[in-house]
């Protein structure tokens, strides 16, 4: 796959367009923030335990919150393209169609990471967590896990948008597929926050890297097939 100027130009144009749309509507960002916080509140009632107990479930809880919220946001990802037939207009463009997937992944990733930058400190405050480990390691885990989720989630959100099915379809098809990311994110986060040695949970980080690579490459190839009209 040669990186033709038309490709990178198209990716850039679409990325800017999507970010501008998001900036105007704030659909995805607000969904992410509100829903993740709601989940946090719900969890704090659901697990009515002492603060130490909450800290134990914190890794699982924060990632469940992020991924559920992420699912809602992903539902909107291709919504703007389906309206007014814009997806067809993009397909008519003089560039390789996988650029559409690429631009969407980067756009979704940036929006979700932006929400995590806001949410993570809030979560730490709500549940009285302290970060004893390296913040760079935290950032690495957050980035790898979010990327894996977004890479496969973007493809599946395109699939769900094309399927003309109800909005319930996306969570049904995304959740089974991302279970490795959920597991790896939770385990790495738990390891980091409980002060374990890196070597103890490094395998989960490696899993994230492998998952990210596979589920960037495979959707990249398959995206074309989703688009035929």
């Amino acid at each position: 796959m040669t990186l033709k100027p038309s490709f990178s130009r198209a990716v850039w144009a679409m990325l800017v367009k999507d970010l501008r749309l998001e900036f105007h509507t704030k659909e995805m960002f607000s969904a992410l923030l509100i829903f993740a916080l709601l989940v946090a509140v719900a969890f704090s009632f659901a697990f009515d335990v002492a603060p130490e107990g909450l800290r134990e479930v914190f890794p699982g809880m924060i990632w469940v919150a992020f991924f559920f919220a992420g699912m809602l946001a992903l539902n909107r990802s291709f919504a703007s393209e389906k309206q007014n037939g814009c997806l067809q207009a993009l397909m008519l463009g003089p560039f390789d169609r996988s650029a559409i997937y690429f631009a969407k992944v980067i756009g979704n990733l940036l929006v979700m990471l932006a929400s995590e930058v806001v949410l993570t400190p809030l979560f730490f405050i709500f549940f009285d967590m302290r970060l004893d480990g390296s913040i760079w390691l935290l950032a690495a885990i957050w980035l790898l896990a979010t990327f894996g989720f977004i890479a496969v989630g973007t493809l599946l959100s395109a699939l769900a948008a094309q399927a003309r099915a109800s909005e319930i379809l996306l969570p049904i098809i995304v959740f089974p597929v991302i279970t490795p990311v959920v597991m790896a994110a939770v385990k790495s986060t738990a390891g980091l926050l409980l002060g374990a040695r890196l070597v103890d949970y490094a395998i989960w980080l490696k899993l994230l890297v492998a998952y990210d690579l596979i589920f960037l490459a495979v959707p990249f190839i398959l995206f074309e097939y989703l688009l035929e009209v």
Binding site: L159, F175, P176, P180, M183, F215
Partner: protein, 230 residues
Amino acid sequence: MPEAKGPARDMTQTLGLLAAVAVFVALGLVFLWVPAERVMGDVQRIFYFHVASAWNAFLAFLVVFVASIAFLRSGSHRWDTLAYCSAEIGVVFTTITLITGPIWARPIWNTWWSWDPRLTTTLILWFIYLAYLVIRSSAEGSQQQSRLAAVFGIIGFVDVPIVFMSTRWWRSIHPTLIQTDKMNMEPSMVFTMVFSFVSFTILYAFLLSYRVRLETLAERAAALKRDLRR
């Protein structure tokens, strides 16, 4: 194009006969011939069907994977039909696996469900192919929607080994509750297990052949209806 009579129908009938005989013999072997396992007792007999179902579910989904790739590349509708039918049967076998597992586990380990790697992966597999069926069943003869299902069939299958490894590592700190490798397997039990597996595979082949014929005829009827409407 399947006809009322012809080689396709003959193959289905032959497979059906073979499957009936094989499964009947397997039932006999499992319930009458093979000795009870020393530790677990008679309830262990369900294990033969449990494993046979699990492996055939996997085979069915492998077929979905291969057929989905072939469909995307060739565009030929027959691959799509094959994938769809195999997924249906795969879900059935997976369901059987998920039901027989707890039936076996409960009397022995006193728990219905254990989140052990294989069972967990099977559960996720079940969700993935259920999702595949949801996507595919809204297709209504549309090639585009079939293509969506094929894409998901590929993604799902690529994911399965990763899920399996993840669930394995997840439980590595806690001892595996269900140690399936610790069974005392006599030669007769090995034979029974292999025979059950083979008989279920023939059953799968029969069901697939029959279902594909059924689906092809149904689609043909739907297409004729569509033409009449215009």
